[in-house]
Symmetry: C2
Subunit: 306 residues, 2 copies
């Protein structure tokens, strides 16, 4: 079933110990859509500038992504520059040029209104809320956020959290959002703010999903998907690719229960692990479901005792 | 089968967000021995000062640990002070008073010479090597080390690594020892230095075991044991308790193969998770094998897909 992704399209300039690339196609909606495209139909809403070419668009349409929701504005596309030279787990931002992204107002095309699944990428929480409220038929909403909104727009974010079913954030964001240094306590607090489930991404160590008591099944035991220790070339987009694998798999299943969410967590880890093996979206453009399922199996065996 | 642990006995002064304790019994050999005591017979070699009382010794003998190898020296026992106020994952050292530990020369009692398993806690690599070379019947040697020896005594450490079958260190130590920022590359390099297996401890994220090609079984696939997100009261001793659960389980099995080492990795995680739930060794003194196996089951289910 179709999933709608709202977020950013960007051109990234990135330096890692493996090399340096300039103005490479990226952005949360791009990584999410490519990762999700291996599981289900994907529709994208984002804004780009004059410098977004037909070749850039073909990266998405080549994977069957519906790009009718990409808005074109006068000016340059959002640009981000960062480096991971000292620490592959944390980006050091060199520059952020919002450009056309600064005045992004998501318009949902009429053809997208029947989407059953929704992913709200890391944009202003008020825009996230507006999109969610516009969509009538959505069954499950996944959402992301970041430190910038937690510190600067907490009131709006608090309202948006009531509209999100599954929040996907990392350890630091969860602790900051909850004002708690202990991860299980932070998780409980974030779940009390609205979401039925919380996915905390641990980078190279995998991810944990916490459930509100009784949500999607019985009890409140967390579940963890490990990640294989791999050669990381470029960590950019790992979190959005994780979200794409996670939400894409859920949208492909047609039912919502713990077992589906647990498998989705593994698929999230799998797509994140592929994303980081090459610069930018290169690896995500040329996968097959067979390769994805083979790695899913490796991830299962990684923690499987006889 | 008996396991011999050589390491430190210490009195720790620790501050964490949960509180502060002074001169609490600790040290690598103490945590290791208590954790291993739930699986097999444990013998300890360490040095203490005049301030080590009969009550302190009863903490160990109460768990059946053979303390005949505890050497008494004139002076005070090793003291360490540290805090985890900003970060539960990393200790900030306030003070280190080596005291009698400074001139520690491990003497192995004759009654210990038939030990089949050996754990070399974090002491000078030359002392580790001397102990190993003295023991004729050892089937498997586990060892720990730290940044201090990696930077200050690399030559001695390199020799010792050739005598250690399973090295247990954390992420930062593995990367420093290998001079590599990528974990899988660091693991390969450390394995080329001697050990047949390398356990890298990830703190609250569990641990990964890497095998040298063909060691203890077929292939070289790594295996990961996840860890449950738990309320951490005091992280001190987590790594040594992990090692105690890991080595203790192995010593209890009588055979050495990948499946045993994988289960041992889970038991390591289980014992580490108990250790951090209370200050010092409190939790490790009053467990039962039933409680341990119940948590082992929880850890299995944590990543288990139907």
């Amino acid at each position: 079933m179709s999933i709608l992704a709202v977020g950013s399209v960007a051109f990234d300039t990135i330096a890692t110990p493996s090399g340096r690339v300039e103005d490479m196609l990226g952005g949360s909606a791009t990584y999410f859509s490519l990762a999700a495209s291996y599981f289900t139909e994907v529709r994208i809403v984002a804004v780009v500038g004059d410098d977004f070419t037909a070749d850039h668009e073909r990266v998405l349409t080549g994977r069957g992504v519906d790009t009718r929701g990409i808005q074109r504005a006068k000016g340059k596309t959002f640009r981000w520059g960062g480096q991971y030279l000292d620490n592959l787990n944390e980006a050091k931002t060199d520059f952020t040029e919002l450009n056309v992204f600064e005045s992004f107002q998501p318009h949902i095309p009429a053809e997208y209104m029947d989407s059953l699944y929704l992913f709200l990428g890391n944009i202003h929480p008020s825009l996230q809320a507006a999109v969610r409220l516009e969509m009538d038929r959505v069954r499950l909403t996944g959402g992301d956020t970041m430190n910038f909104w937690i510190t600067g727009s907490l009131k709006e974010l608090t309202e948006t959290l009531k509209l999100i079913n599954v929040l996907l954030i990392n350890d630091g964001e969860a602790k900051m959002l909850a004002g708690e240094r202990s991860l299980p306590r932070a998780a409980r607090k974030v779940l009390s703010m609205g979401p039925q489930a919380l996915v905390i991404k641990h980078g190279e160590y995998g991810a944990t999903i916490f459930f509100r008591e009784g949500a999607f099944g019985i009890g409140s035991h967390p579940f963890r998907a490990p990640a294989l220790p791999l050669e990381v070339v470029d960590p950019t987009g790992a979190g959005d690719s994780f979200a794409g694998g996670f939400m894409g798999y859920i949208a492909s299943q047609g039912q919502l229960n713990r077992e589906v969410l647990k498998r989705a967590l593994f698929y999230g880890g799998v797509m994140g692990s592929f994303a980081v093996e090459r610069f930018g979206t290169e690896r995500l453009q040329k996968l097959t479901r067979q390769k994805i399922d083979a790695r899913f199996q490796v991830f299962r065996e990684l923690t499987h005792l006889e």
